[in-house]
């Protein structure tokens, strides 16, 4: 070749551009464009804020974290009684002991404890009968008010104390009576027992499916838009003179996929991290992280599958206005499993319908993370769904590559899918 060089140093490979470098360039451009897009920045911020807020608000309102009650050293025996009452009511109460009432009051004012319990001596001094003297009531000191669950716990504990006082007064042994009462219970025989379900896992499963659903719904159409933008602006003609259609399509899918996955990881880390830190997510950290990792794997598979379909669909039209028509089928296949999942699973987590649908490649990326999270999917079902989905992706690589390659150079009216598949 003659040299017409006037200072532009070419790559030493001289136009020999490896597929890897082309993919990196295309994906890099896509990532840069998405990250700079105002819409992406805003939705990401909203997502993170929403997930953080929902965790924190649940903590503040629900208050499933331990409530603290103080007793004075004099009333030390009440600590066990309050603890037992809390257990019987399934409430999480921590009892602390203070030297005297003054120290306890200070602790209430400092917010160290929610309530200070004093066994009412007033009644005994007044001398209104044996009942008061044997420790009938509690005087509870709080900062401003006493929460419902603590009221119940303390009421039960106070009544128990009163009962024990009466038993002693009648000459019985409160401990013996207590044991007799405690051993009396209800023995339940379930003829068709349900495996025990953890509500937290159900929430986690639905949340994982929901996030995947939202992210697919956002970034799937972004792939189509990006393809159409290149067609509308005709820049695709400039690109296809130097790179192959599949390289352009693959680079786009990879680039947008990286951005979408990054957003999801960020949301997942913030959500699970806060959930574990606040104790709101009441499952072992290992299980939580495992669920998130599995959900991300399914997202990756699902995004690849849907992105290929969205890319091929986008290549069929030349104007953004026409995008809706060609992407509607994919939107529907994303919507259906989500709606079915969230409406069926909470009431019947073992639904055979959902488990069957979860094996179908188009639905698996949304339904599988849900049933895995809930814990109702067998390992073979998960592996079968994964294998089928990967096989479908392999088919799609060929199919979408062909449709995209044939259709992306044709602008003007919508290209019929049949023509795009056939045309050479």
């Amino acid at each position: 070749m003659p040299t017409v060089n006037e200072g532009a140093e070419r790559d030493e490979r001289d136009g020999e551009l490896g597929a890897g470098r082309v993919l990196r360039l295309v994906a890099g451009r896509e990532i840069g464009t998405r990250l700079r897009s105002r819409a992406f920045q805003i939705t990401t911020a909203l997502f993170v804020v929403a997930i953080a807020a929902s965790v924190l608000v649940t903590t503040a309102v629900g208050g499933s974290s331990a409530q603290r009650v103080g007793v004075t050293a004099v009333d030390g025996t009440q600590a066990a009684a309050i603890g037992a009452a809390a257990r019987s009511l399934d409430a999480d109460v921590e009892v602390r002991t203070y030297a005297d009432a003054a120290a306890g009051r200070q602790a209430v004012l400092d917010g160290d404890i929610d309530a200070l319990v004093l066994v009412a001596p007033a009644a005994a001094e007044v001398g209104a009968g044996g009942v008061g003297a044997t420790g009938g009531g509690y005087r509870v000191v709080v900062d401003s008010d006493l929460g419902d669950s603590l009221t119940s716990v303390l009421t039960v504990a106070a009544r128990q104390a009163a009962l024990e006082g009466q038993i002693s007064a009648l000459g019985g042994d409160p401990a013996t009576v207590g044991r007799a009462v405690a051993s009396a219970g209800v023995a339940v025989t379930a003829l068709r027992p349900q495996p025990e379900r953890d509500a937290a896992r159900l929430v986690l499963g639905l949340l994982a499916g929901g996030l995947i659903y939202i992210s697919l719904l956002i970034f799937g159409p972004v792939v189509a838009q990006s393809v159409i933008e290149e067609k509308t602006s005709r820049v695709v003609e400039l690109l296809l003179a130097v790179i192959r259609p599949w390289q352009l399509m693959a680079g786009k899918v990879v680039g947008i996929g990286v951005v979408a996955l990054g957003q999801l990881v960020l949301i997942g880390v913030v959500g699970v991290g806060l959930g574990l830190a606040t104790g709101e997510l009441d499952i072992p950290a290992g299980v939580a992280v495992g669920s998130v990792a599995l959900a991300l794997l399914w997202y990756l598979v699902g995004f690849t599958m849907y992105a290929l379909m969205f890319a091929a669909a986008g290549a069929l039209v030349s104007r953004q206005e026409d995008a809706g028509g060609v992407t509607a089928p994919m939107i529907a296949t994303i919507l259906i499993p989500y709606v079915l999942g969230i409406s069926v699973l909470p009431s019947s987590p073992d639904s055979g319908l959902i488990l069957t649908l979860a094996i179908i490649p188009l639905f698996a990326p949304i339904l599988m993370p849900m049933v895995i999270g809930i814990g109702s999917a067998a390992v073979w079902q998960v592996l079968l769904a994964l294998a089928l989905t990967l096989a479908w992706i392999a088919v799609l690589v060929w199919l979408a590559g062909r449709v995209y390659g044939n259709a992306v150079k044709r602008s003007g009216t919508r290209v019929a899918l049949r023509d795009a598949l056939r045309a050479a």
Binding site: V4, A8, R10, V22, L25, S233, L239, S411, G412
Partner: protein, 329 residues
């Protein structure tokens, strides 16, 4: 061969029943400016898209430097598509940097090339603006920069002058001449025939997918039918009708432009003019490229009338290429 020539060899393309290119052949030598002219729909854009591999030819071959073009050698072609193509929301410098790298430049070399060409084409101040915020003229300059930024060894420009203001036309002409001087074969299409005539070493006129005339501008003009300009102020309209082998090609005030066919007698014309009164001017003139072009197109129409099976005469019958849509003019 290694002579840096771009050869289009008997390239054919049809879309269904429509023949877009019918064994079209031409060559552009190193250091030559080749003008590609033809009516809309004649096949210019399809030919250029085939050179760039955006469209696959049904038959024929495009060679550069003696070897068929591949994706690799195409990276060294500078291309300006008829339908301008840039990312509207990408900044000028970023966009050029990206395109330069896709054409094989390393990141650092690409950066330097972007700086040099934006400077050279007068858009350096707009480097950090989105392309969509630029005026059409400036977008056109960026488009040219995109074709030049990777230091191409061949330039293929589809309608590079359309939509340019006179200053930009000068810049564009200068750059094309400069590339020619650097030994690059340059082919461009245009409807501005005076510009083609002024700039090009050789011209090819394409009609209905065929090259109907190809050669140096002077040679083509000499070969066309001679013109005769006669200024006879008192001559009535139609004074030259009925003279053997003479066609009236136009009137300009009192001047009449005549085309003399083979065997026509210019002295008979002079006598007829003098018979009408005084003759102020009487001189032969070679046809301009524009006149030549119209002759060729019209001759083609006659051929179609004679039954030759060709499609795509005139201005609007066949869309150029499969980009159905705006004609881009």
């Amino acid at each position: 061969m290694g002579d840096g020539r771009l050869e289009v060899d008997a390239v054919s393309k049809r879309y269904g029943d429509v023949v877009a290119l019918d064994a079209l052949s031409f060559e552009v030598r190193a250091g030559e400016l080749f003008g590609f002219v033809g009516s809309n729909g004649a096949g210019k854009t399809t030919a250029m898209r085939i050179i760039l591999g955006v469209v696959t030819a049904d038959a024929g071959q495009v060679r550069y430097d003696g070897a068929p073009l591949t994706l690799r050698t195409r990276r060294r072609i500078g291309y300006m598509p008829e339908e301008r193509g840039l990312y509207p929301k990408m900044k000028v410098a970023e966009q050029l940097h990206y395109l330069a790298q896709l054409h094989g430049l390393g990141p650092a070399a690409a950066r330097r090339a972007v700086a040099r060409w934006t400077e050279r084409l007068g858009v350096a101040a707009r480097r950090d603006d989105e392309v969509q915020k630029l005026s059409l003229g400036n977008q056109q300059r960026v488009q040219l920069a995109a074709a030049l930024v990777h230091d191409p060894v061949v330039l293929v420009l589809d309608e590079p002058f359309s939509g340019l203001d006179p200053v930009a036309v000068d810049v564009m002409s200068e750059v094309l001449r400069e590339r020619r001087a650097a030994g690059v074969p340059v082919v461009f299409s245009s409807h501005q025939l005076d510009l083609v005539e002024r700039l090009c070493d050789r011209v090819g006129i394409v009609r209905a997918g065929r090259m109907v005339a190809c050669g140096p501008v002077d040679e083509l003009r000499a070969g066309g039918g001679g013109r005769l300009v006669v200024d006879a102020p008192d001559a009535p309209a139609g004074w030259a009708d009925g003279l053997a082998g003479v066609r009236v090609r136009g009137r300009d005030g009192s001047r009449t432009v005549l085309e003399l066919g083979p065997g026509a007698d210019d002295q008979a014309v002079l006598r007829a003019a003098l018979a009408s009164g005084p003759v102020r001017e009487f001189h032969p003139r070679r046809p301009s490229l524009g006149e030549l072009f119209r002759d060729v197109v019209r001759a083609g129409d006659d051929v179609v009338g004679a039954g030759d099976r060709v499609v795509g005469d005139g201005d609007d019958v066949v869309s150029d290429g499969d980009l159905v849509g705006a004609d881009g003019e």
